[in-house]
Subunit: 310 residues, 2 copies
Amino acid sequence: MELRHLRSLVTLVDMGFSVSRAAVQLHVVQPAVSQHLRQLEDEIGARLFVRQGRRLIALTEAGERVLEYSRQVLAQTNSILAIGRDHTQQSRGELRIATTHTQARYVLPPVIRRFAEKYPAVSLQIHQGTPAQLVDAAVHDSVDFAICTEALGEHPLLRAIPCYRWNRCVIAPGGHPVLIKPRVTLKQLCAYPVITYVFGFTGRGHFSDTFVESGLRPDVVLSAADTDVIKTYVREGLGIGIIARLAYDAVLDADLGMRDLHHLFPWETTKIAYARGKYLRTFQQDFIDMFQDTIRQSDTRGGLQPCSEP
Amino acid sequence: MELRHLRSLVTLVDMGFSVSRAAVQLHVVQPAVSQHLRQLEDEIGARLFVRQGRRLIALTEAGERVLEYSRQVLAQTNSILAIGRDHTQQSRGELRIATTHTQARYVLPPVIRRFAEKYPAVSLQIHQGTPAQLVDAAVHDSVDFAICTEALGEHPLLRAIPCYRWNRCVIAPGGHPVLIKPRVTLKQLCAYPVITYVFGFTGRGHFSDTFVESGLRPDVVLSAADTDVIKTYVREGLGIGIIARLAYDAVLDADLGMRDLHHLFPWETTKIAYARGKYLRTFQQDFIDMFQDTIRQSDTRGGLQPCSEP
DNA sequence: AGAATTTACGCGGTCCGTAACCATG
DNA sequence: CATGGTTACGGACCGCGTAAATTCT
């Protein structure tokens, strides 16, 4: 068994069980990949693939197991090479971050600024996606870090580091009746049409749970993945917005009124996660440190609380 | 980078930095290994070895990192092959256990009997060693399981499963004054010369701590790694023995008196550990289950308590 | 001087690419 | 009949083994 066999297996699966596409991806011809897969099955001595005629359709249970280990092996060989790059070109390389819109837009900018200043030779990539996609990308090591609130932390193949806790606020056009009382109640929120995040995003789970427990039902007229979209519709007068407190900008959103809601909802914990066993280059480790440190310095202006290490 | 490079690196280290011995171990000629190491260094692009002239002396820091990942990669490729064997020859293979003398002699026999009955085609190996050696063997995957009380559980590369808790007893030749009172005190134990386990073995750490805390100092005239040796010297009249309660056999040791001491010392937890990420074949998983189950059935006869899963 | 490692070189295996062949929708 | 996968075969590459050169104990 050689690494190329494992590479062929993993690429085959990632390419949706198309041998030809895997071959293209691997820069070899198709019969080569066929041979790898065949040899791998021979050496392991068990069927790995469910076949339909000559076509490969899916993995057997054994195949799933082998795939899992193969991914780990390949990730670790990458880590080995990363060690080298780390020692020779300390501060040269790339940092691939996958996160949600809210993080990318409201939390990361000051961190990124500091990082880019300290490591000008590191090329930065910020990918966006749904929490489920972020998890996937981190597991497959197609990004270095996934930063979000949902779906991390339970995954057995990820190491998740809690970074800060945040809560929600309500926003509404200036003069809106919900803004009168300094301390808003759940009942008051239910009196108006609500615009908030799409399910699966940014703490929407706990958000809904809170209403269910209280026996109240909010009138969610619109859901969006993205705080800026929510704000836009709130400005249009479509309803009141319930967003992450940290996404309210006192200057840019001066036309909107805001009331903190941390007394109504549970705190959410945003984490930074990476593939377990991944070798972190010094600048990657440093990014995590800078992230936590920046949060710590920005104090509670945005209503977020730093998390100490677990 | 190919697996052979990693194998050469790992073997080199295991052979004490002798390229020639590594070559023998790998069934290739020496220049081949030299080439692997050279190529590995080239590809990683960092010095991995500390050299003294042409001789390799030690690993650099980068080398240590690479070694760590290489070990994991190789362990996982082994896991992949194990998956195959598991699916084709369900109950054929080998089970390598490393443990201390006390476990091998007093706890494992009934487990082994059940296991051998159910899996006659699995060849069993029982290795013995100091707790530190057991940990090493498990980490390097040169055994499948390490079973002992000390040193496991904290190691980051091992997964340790608590199996049962035990405590100590005192043994002495029949009629010895320490046997008169049903409830022995620490002070009484200090009145006689004591024979017990060597430091680093079988709960000796907590044993000593207990005396230190009480301000008493036992008169340990002899330490042995092995309960049978202790018993022998107790029979010789050299002193009283403090051993694991489970190592006292009511029939074979009828000439020795015994008093339980669980009111004096903290309970010790014996664990079964294996390399994290290792693929457990079905019969290996079954061994753990049978181990725990056998303990559960043997009830408290030997003064040991089963542990539920953490 | 001898043990151990590196360098030099040639052979053999094997890995991949080309091309022809087969199955499936 | 086109798309996608397997079988067959040849050439190029390279990994290993032999043997000579080198260096440190």
